[in-house]
Amino acid sequence: MAIVNRTPDSFYRPGITWDEAAALERVHTVVAEGADIVDIGGVPAKPGAEVTVDEEIGRTVPFIEAVRDAHPDLVISVDTWRNEVGRAACAAGADLLNDTWSGWDPKLAEVAAEFGVGLVCSHTGGLQPRTRVFRKAYADVMADVLDRTLNLAQRAVQAGVDPSRILIDPAHDFGKNTWHSLDISRRLADMTATGWPVLVSVSNKDFVGETLGADLEGRLAGTLAVTSVAAWLGARVFRAHHVVETRQALDMVAAIKGDLRPARVLRGLV
């Protein structure tokens, strides 16, 4: 899942795809690099200047139309928590509602059901959208993650969302400190064992930076390490900034698992 943000102020390389032409170019690039899904978001996760529903729709929906036009078979996800945005995005051709704020708007699941699209069910420890974690403690963070995401998934099924289109996401760093994000990474098998496909979004996140003492531009290796562990433990979707490197890491893990044939084996066989 390649990230294409339609914001001027997201945390990583802000504004790089704010210009629509640059954003569309980025989509062409990531598709060529092997992205299976393009995730289009109009509101940064961090606190800041308010982005109204109309503004968010303006940033994402015409762009989704343009992407759908250019790539008829590409899976397009929209990174939003709001039902009005989800509705407009689906009408424009989006296939997946990537809700990173844990069902804050209960109507979003109804939109997924109505349009027959997919839904991501995530965990934030109860945070209001666009707020930061503050002294959060968990008796058992993975138990809390499972409880919330499985509840949301069941709720979505009851609302009429196709069960084969539901993903669960622990949402690293959302309502979790670095220790918590490391623990959910270590215990990810608990999520993959549920049978719901697991999405992880770890790219360049603060828990990687805090673990390694690395600034924003120095987190690729750490990101790929978490990506590889998550892949080994059975995660299915990986939301990433660095598509080429992520594709390679995933292919390597798949080859080790025996799910992917190596590209070209000659050494030792000649």
Partner: protein, 245 residues
């Protein structure tokens, strides 16, 4: 009577193991250690830790902070039990080598002034009734909305609010602490408000002598470390003027 009180902040980072390799904010840790040491040095009959929590309640004085709730890697599955503010207070006292009688008293984060005053008066009264020399360790923080990267983002009202609190502490102005606007404190995520109001009531009338050991917001949350000594001549001096000799 309450002979001395210390104000300390209660961010989880005060538990050293939680910050990983980097100890961070050495100055803040030193100030908290100094304030706690001064409390223990008065050789009190009891130390009462007061700190904000979801509900007003006394806790088992033997309970301690469960850091595993903040850092699963540091131990087997924890149980979030003792409120953070009380846990950190008890930790500071353990680190200062205090092993005497302890009270762990939570004050509800939304407790209005009346409830805080009632609690503060009760703590002071029970110390007086048993002729005990009691010390208070008051845990709590100013606004968590001091910067763009603060947990609560930036609220322009936060710095002036914290400045008023610091001024009140420097001046030993218990009335100003008693008069803090609970609604504004809540909006600004200033979790210390109810604990400071318990302190204001517990120290009675009069003007304590104060000393500020640390005041700053390095991470967008206002931390204040201070010491309050009961006004000379006992609990209620100011109304009656200086002692006659």
């Amino acid at each position: 009577m309450i002979i001395r009180a210390a104000l300390c902040p209660c961010p989880p980072l005060l538990a050293r193991e939680l910050t990983g390799h980097d100890p961070l904010v050495a100055g803040l840790r030193e100030a908290c250690a100094a304030a706690t040491a001064r409390l223990v040095d008065t050789d009190p009959d009891v130390i009462i830790v007061v700190g904000p929590a979801p509900e007003t309640a006394a806790w088992d004085p033997a309970s301690r902070l469960d850091i595993v709730a903040f850092a699963p890697a540091l131990g087997p599955n924890g149980k979030s039990g003792l409120p953070l503010s009380l846990g950190l207070g008890a930790l500071l006292l353990d680190q200062a080598g205090y092993s005497g009688p302890l009270v762990l008293q939570a004050v509800g984060e939304n407790e209005p002034w009346a409830g805080c005053a009632e609690l503060g008066n009760r703590l002071a009264a029970s110390a007086s009734a048993s002729a005990a020399r009691a010390a208070l360790l008051v845990m709590g923080d100013g606004s968590a909305r001091r910067s763009l990267t603060a947990p609560g983002h930036l609220d322009e009202r936060a710095a002036p609010f914290d400045a008023r609190v610091e001024r009140a502490v420097r001046d030993g102005d218990l009335a100003a602490l008693a008069g803090l606007d609970a609604g504004l404190a809540r909006e600004l995520m200033a979790t210390g408000r109810p604990a400071w109001q318990v302190l204001a009531a517990a120290m009675g009338t009069g003007q304590p002598v104060t000393d500020v050991l640390y005041a700053g917001a390095p991470f967008g949350v206002a931390y204040l470390v201070a010491q309050f000594d009961a006004a000379p001549n006992g609990c209620r001096p100011a109304r009656y003027g200086p002692p006659r000799r």
